[in-house]
Amino acid sequence: MAFAQRFRQGMKAAIPVWVAFVPSSIAWGIAAQSHQLTLEEVFLMSAWVYSGPAQFAVLGPLTEGKSALQVLAAGTLMNLRFLPMSTALAPFFKGVKRLPLLLSSHVISASSFIVPYLQFQKERESEALTAGDESTRGYDNLAFFLGVGVTAFTVWVAGTMLGFSVALGFPPGFEEALKFILPGYFAGLLVVEMKGWMMPLICAVSLIAAIPGASASPGWGWLVVSCVVAFVGWGLEEWNLRAARSS
């Protein structure tokens, strides 16, 4: 499939992400303005760090004069989630040259991970049935990923600048809907692709356990809890599989 066609396919899949990014990016822009960040700092944060949760998490400590180490530790822990997400995407970019791959990886976020990842998995399964060649798919996959990632990134950066420049308010009564769109879309995507029993179990436990985790530490408590849930679930499944093989 042509690069442009595949890019457009990614763009189409990213539309709900754009809709969700508009209010949250504007909200961050407004918050950054109220915390007296400069326009340059807002742009740098959105375009260079490009991580909604980390941006919100460090805004207070950054502007309240907390130590650099404290701010960096909070932000870095929040950004750790990119490590497994980027690792999980990596096998789908077979044959792609290093430079485009490294440049593209800047737009990896939770949204630009989950939308392409589920799409690639679906395609890999259907190709396995039709004996397709995975090695030719690297650039195809990259185009789809960029369709999601670059457009979502653009919306995010533009939204924060807009929020910073104009203290925009949405009509009252729509905040709930705007707040719901991104998590609702993530949940919908996950549930469509669920298989077996371990994945739904891990998702359900993580969904619930993240709440006390975030109560204990809003910055990274939920992150640690989610990772622990995944490791425990995986460990139990491995143990079961090994026991079944040996018996």
């Binding site: 709900p16 944060m45 260079w48 760090v49 490009y50 949760p53 950054l62 650099a68 960096l72 932000g75 870095t76 950004n79 989630r81 990119f82 497994p84 980027s86 690792t87 999980a88 995407l89 990596a90 096998p91 792609v96 791959l101 990886s105 939770a110 990842y117 009564g173 729509f174 709930e176 809907a177 719901f180 769109i181 991104l182 998590p183 609702g184 879309y185 993530f186 949940a187 919908g188 549930v191 469509v192 371990m198 994945m199 891990i202 998702c203 969904l207 993240a210 709440i211 985790g213 975030a214 109560s215 204990a216 530490s217 809003p218 939920w222 992150l223 989610s226 990772c227 995944a230 995986w234």
Partner: protein
């Protein structure tokens, strides 16, 4: 050594970029052994569920207990419809309508 806000943002961006780039340098195009592939999948999905939960139900360190039951009901409806229709968008539309209506009625 004291760092300026700009320098802190630059370092923060560098760490974010490192977490994004390093796996692409070492693992692009490689196929992981099946157990590792599964572990990565589980960690990523668990993190996404953590994001869903904290975005929807939390404000800082506190649970938004007034709206949490309505949002949870809308989330469940979203998942049921998405699964049933095999379309995340259909579920999302219903969930968004439900959460809006519940907020207008309260």
């Amino acid at each position: 050594m004291e760092l300026t806000r700009g320098e802190i943002i630059l370092i923060l961006g560098l760490t974010a970029l490192a977490f994004r780039i390093v796996p692409q340098i070492y693992f692009a195009g490689q196929k992981f052994p099946e157990p590792w592939d599964r572990l990565l999948r589980y960690v990523s999905y668990a993190l996404l569920c953590g994001i869903i939960s904290t975005t929807l139900f939390m404000k800082g360190a506190s649970l938004e207990s007034d709206s949490a039951p309505y949002r949870a009901a809308a989330l469940i409806a979203t998942m049921v419809v998405a699964r049933w229709t095999r379309s995340a968008l259909s579920g999302l539309i219903l969930g968004t309508i439900l959460v809006s209506v519940s907020s207008w009625l309260r």
